[in-house]
Symmetry: C2
Subunit: 306 residues, 2 copies
Amino acid sequence: MELDFVRWLQTNLDGGHNREQLQNDAASVEWEPGKSCVVTTDMIADGSHFVLDQVDPRRVGHKALGVNLSDLAAMGARPVGAFVSLLLPPANPEKLAREIMLGMLPLSQRCRCPILGGDTNCWDGKLVINVTAIGDAPKENPWKRSGLIAGDLLFVTGDLGGSICGHHLDFEPRIEEAQFLRDNFQVHAAMDISDGLALDASRMATASQCGIEFDEHTIPVSAAARSQARNASGNPLKAALEDGEDFELLFAIPPDQVDELVRCWPFETRLTKIGRWTAAQGIWLKQLDGRSVPLEARGYEHKRTL
Amino acid sequence: MELDFVRWLQTNLDGGHNREQLQNDAASVEWEPGKSCVVTTDMIADGSHFVLDQVDPRRVGHKALGVNLSDLAAMGARPVGAFVSLLLPPANPEKLAREIMLGMLPLSQRCRCPILGGDTNCWDGKLVINVTAIGDAPKENPWKRSGLIAGDLLFVTGDLGGSICGHHLDFEPRIEEAQFLRDNFQVHAAMDISDGLALDASRMATASQCGIEFDEHTIPVSAAARSQARNASGNPLKAALEDGEDFELLFAIPPDQVDELVRCWPFETRLTKIGRWTAAQGIWLKQLDGRSVPLEARGYEHKRTL
């Protein structure tokens, strides 16, 4: 989900022609003056992002589209359409393709993101799916992870941690919530949490050249993280901070909008105020005893990056 | 390269929300009234579209971007940017990625199609590359394969056949030529030849509800097709008609523009008038003796379609 590829390109190659503005996990393309198009692309593969033998292919289809829609939500973009490339293994490819699409279409419809095109191939390897999603964001106000400013308060949607128990396949990208925020509030910074709250928040803090402090008692720990921790004698808070693939929205708004946001939030999706901007760089956890301790920017590196 | 996937979707699923206009191998997305965005996506894989052990990875990179740019050219679209997803095999992935990009960037620069984003993963399978390219086409005049009308004459760029000898990796997408045509002539129908002239022309004829007649003596047979035919005692004309992956532009213009086009053509790329619209459906070959015989719509089915 990260733009490691582009960063690597820019670092390693003469990318002088390659200077479009990159934001969050999507790229913004200026289409004409004042009109931007947001594009995101993600490739997922059997054995790396899911294990086809162990899951319903519909959930794989849902995930393949969902990770891209989550990227669009993180920019406050309205989905326009998606393009799906499939590389199908030799065993019964037509059935597999149908199942994948049956998993993708309900999400496509809910998020008003029609599947407009694609490319289908068979080969002798494992299943690979690439989805490219296009969205519409006003140039004046594309959300970035770098926009956090003094006084901002941080919110998160949903519950965090334990996604490996199923949420990483079944999550709902926060498209509607993002549209509501975009239409009604002044979002200074946003991203979707794909590599864990701590690691992703550290990226937002670094990009914004500030720090972020979380309140320990407010972190919304998921039931899966609690249950998993009980079974493995683990730490559910640690899971909420460091597990990957939550695909929840982390965003910052100015303090004078907080009450209004909490009062008006029209969704069943939980909304939690979890922290605030700090001048001290890095990420911090304000413990129950009131002390603020540094948090390690650890998370789920869900892909080998170059 | 075909939109088999979308056709299959539309045939097999309740694709009622999925009714954007599809043209050629790319999809056209209406961005705002009067402004369309053209999107094309292609996935190529080691063992299916190239054999990594036998070729310079730079040529693979060139091809991965080139097939998408060829699709944009077929619609007369101006490239805006490309998004590249890589799934890299375990052996020295960073080196491989660099080589692929070094093959892609010169083409990206020549065609003014910057690489704006992407996704990079490693896995234990073979190399897979997905490229999505976005282009800009005026809504009033997007080229389609269905636009051939009575009187039109057909032209083709470059030489045909024998692409397996190297052209399928090293071809130059006809972006510049397409821009010149779009700016100066009235192109009624166009497509890029990816599955062989006969098969692709039959698709244009079917889409346009007419026939196409080629002049046998004008078909531009490539040197590779001739040489290959000599070695294998084959038929170079058959190769020019049926070999795949030429990635040349096949297009139709009205008869009163033919002289002007031939006089003004500013490119080194060969331009050949090869045929004409016919009322009789199907595709036809006008032989040297003046007789017109039906041509089989055979070509290179370069992927297993569903």
